[in-house]
């Protein structure tokens, strides 16, 4: 039984990672072939960095991922703060469900609806909205916000509300207390939300496909246009690089997550006090 479950596990991981491993492996293949691995080399990586369009797309992607995730983090954190402070449990649940819907929505629906919205908006007078960076930024920020809320809200919920009261008691205004007490407390959630948003934005294709313009291409879009003709092996290198980048970010997110856990454990410690009757 034990061996069986082990075999099963290996099989699952093999299926999950085989394509990626093949891709990474062949990105180091000197001869541009998928049939046989000849010599290990960085040739295609060098080739990639000679490709100005690819580099431009990479730059766009990073630019977009950073700005949209930062924007989403600011908005999402404030939203989580507000949601947590809602008095009515009913309204709180409703709003939380509403913020969750965009995450479940198929990307294609989000993408098409965003496109329709932008098309409609660009027909409005005095609204100089053109497809390109701005529409991409709006779209990416929008789909990132729920993820930020998802990662920050539990931290707020976990926080002892007496901490805020203690800060007010000691002379802090509500705004001062937000920056001195609440924000440091939820920071691990904010950081993981930021990184989550960054990765989601970096590898989004479907939504970007609908709201981008030819003069603002991100990496996934560029890769897609490349594969439409003939797969350049430098694309393998590019994908491998993205895999590495995402991997590193995921590790960081997990690290932030465990930091998060460690903190809350420490927080609970004082409660081990003795039972409380007189």
């Amino acid at each position: 039984m034990k061996t069986l479950s082990r075999i099963y596990m290996v099989l699952v991981f093999a299926l999950l990672y085989a394509p990626i491993i093949v891709l990474v492996l062949f990105s180091f293949n000197e001869r541009g072939s998928l049939n046989q691995f000849t010599t290990f080399s960085f040739y295609w990586y060098a080739e990639l960095f000679r490709d100005a369009t690819a580099l431009g797309a990479l730059k766009n992607s990073l630019y977009l991922a950073i700005s949209s995730s930062v924007l989403a983090t600011v908005i999402g954190t404030l939203a989580a703060f507000g949601i947590n402070n809602l008095r009515s449990r009913y309204i709180k649940t409703v709003i939380r469900s509403v913020t969750n819907i965009p995450m479940m929505n198929p990307d294609i629906v989000t993408g098409v609806s965003m496109m329709l919205l932008f098309v409609f908006a660009s027909t409005m007078p005095f609204l100089p909205l053109k497809f390109g960076f701005v529409t991409m930024l709006i779209a990416h920020t929008t789909f990132n916000i729920p993820y930020v809320i998802l990662s920050v809200l539990p931290r707020f919920a976990q926080m002892d509300k007496h901490l805020t009261e203690a800060a007010l008691d000691l002379g802090c205004t509500p705004a001062g207390s937000f920056f001195r007490i609440e924000l440091p407390y939820v920071l691990p959630g904010v950081v993981s939300g930021l990184m989550l948003g960054f990765t989601l934005s970096l590898d989004d294709f479907v939504i970007s496909h609908f709201v981008s313009s030819p003069d603002f291409q991100t990496l996934p879009l560029y890769v897609y246009t490349q594969t439409a003709h003939k797969v350049k092996f430098s694309m393998y290198a590019l994908c491998a690089l993205m895999v590495f980048a995402i991997l590193i970010l995921l590790l960081l997110v997990n690290f932030a997550g465990s930091f998060n856990l460690g903190k809350s454990k420490v927080k609970r410690k004082p409660k081990t006090g003795v039972k409380e009757n007189g």
Binding site: R87, K92, H162, A166, D169, L170, V266, K267, G273, V274
Partner: protein
């Protein structure tokens, strides 16, 4: 000596979700006093404290601070500091920064902060703990940090919300003494909330006994203990045998089928009353010499004394005595006139009877639960 009223609550009422928590509270607190709000869980004592602290607004009534109405003054503008039940220390700051917090907010110069924090930490016996993370401290130490953090701002009034509830018995006793000493040294008005009557009796200048959102009695610890106003107070503070009785005339009370001399007067003739006899005020005498006679049904050793339960005509008395009485033996009781306290009938009459259901476990269960204040505040997240 007439001292200034530092806090004055006038006709305060408050309800949560239509559930009245405070019903027309009137209470003033004099400067430099140590006042304890005492009552079982859900009696409204924490809410009263939170109204003084500014964390809750009363639905009706006014709060005065040195004759100035402060109903709408937010907590951060009140010259009042709070020690929270679970300390509420800031987990991301060390001991020094926790204590310095209020001063930093007030933009006090660094060298002054450093001096004040050191002084205050010394005051609560936490010298040398400055750099420690609060999570590495024991419950008692965290409590001291919480007290220092409040005291360092030199408030006019210090509010303490069951600050010792989470500490073990020994530590609690020590902290009671320290708090009392701190009160004397600092001259700050302390308003202390607890459900522990012993704590209240040993620390306070004035005790405010609360139940069901109302103040039952205000008085010094000895007043409250010796002259409880109604059956609730008598039962809640210390142990008491509360009997149904009749005031035949001034200084003559009849209960347990026997007429006793007492020191109470001012009741109508034959007025039904509640009679309190404290367990330690009853003398045990041979059965034939007693004013009352009964059978011992239970004996518990309490260290200093024995606690015996005596069945007299179906009513179980509790008596504390240093003389051992064997179970099932018949003994006589002798009650001095000054051991009898007569109270007017109240809504609590008959609710606190005899000790027939008395047991150790029952006693533990009936003690207030510490989550009381959670009920008083809004919906929390799961």
């Amino acid at each position: 000596m007439e001292q200034t009223k530092i806090i004055d609550l006038k006709n305060i009422s408050k309800s949560f979700d239509g559930e009245p928590v405070l019903k027309n509270i009137n209470l003033y607190i004099r400067d430099k006093e140590f006042v304890t709000l005492l009552g079982p869980s859900g009696c409204g004592k924490t809410t009263t404290l939170r109204i003084i602290g500014g964390f809750e607004q009363p639905d009706e009534g006014d709060v005065f601070f040195l004759d100035e109405r402060i109903n709408d003054v937010p907590p951060y503008k009140r010259n009042v500091n709070t020690v929270f039940q679970r300390y509420a220390l800031f987990p991301h700051l060390n001991v020094y920064e926790n204590v310095a917090f209020g001063l930093r907010v007030a933009k006090v110069p660094n060298n002054v902060i450093s001096k004040k924090v050191k002084e205050t930490l010394a005051l609560v016996n936490l010298k040398g703990f400055e750099k420690r993370a609060v999570s590495t401290l024991s419950g008692g130490q965290q409590q001291r940090v919480a007290i220092a953090r409040a005291l360092v701002n030199n408030p006019k009034v210090l509010l303490l919300d069951e600050p010792l509830a989470a500490l073990d018995l020994k530590l609690r006793k020590d902290m009671q003494n320290e708090l009392k000493a701190l009160h004397e040294r600092t001259g700050i008005t302390f308003i202390y909330v607890t459900h522990d009557q012993e704590e209240a009796l040993s620390m306070s200048d004035t005790i405010v006994v609360m139940a069901d959102g109302r103040i039952q009695q205000i008085g010094t610890p000895t007043d409250i203990y010796n002259e409880p106003k109604n059956a609730f107070v008598a039962d809640f503070i210390g142990e008491s045998n509360i009997l149904d009785g009749v005031m035949i005339d001034d200084f003559r009370a009849k209960f347990a089928g026997v007429e006793f001399k007492c020191l109470d007067s001012g009741f109508e003739k034959n007025e039904p009353v509640d009679v309190v006899v404290r367990p330690e005020d009853v003398d045990i005498v041979p059965a034939d010499k007693g004013m009352l006679r009964g059978t011992v049904t239970g004996v518990t050793f309490k260290g200093v004394h024995w606690e015996i339960i005596v069945d007299i005509k179906g009513f179980k008395w509790m008596i504390q005595t240093t003389d051992y009485c064997a179970p099932d033996s018949v003994i006589g009781l002798y009650i001095e006139p000054d051991a009898i306290h007569v109270m007017k009938k109240s809504e609590y009459s008959g609710m606190f009877g005899d000790y027939s259901s008395y047991s150790e476990e029952f006693d533990e269960l009936s003690v207030a639960d510490p989550e009381e204040e959670e009920k008083n505040t809004e919906a929390e997240d799961e």
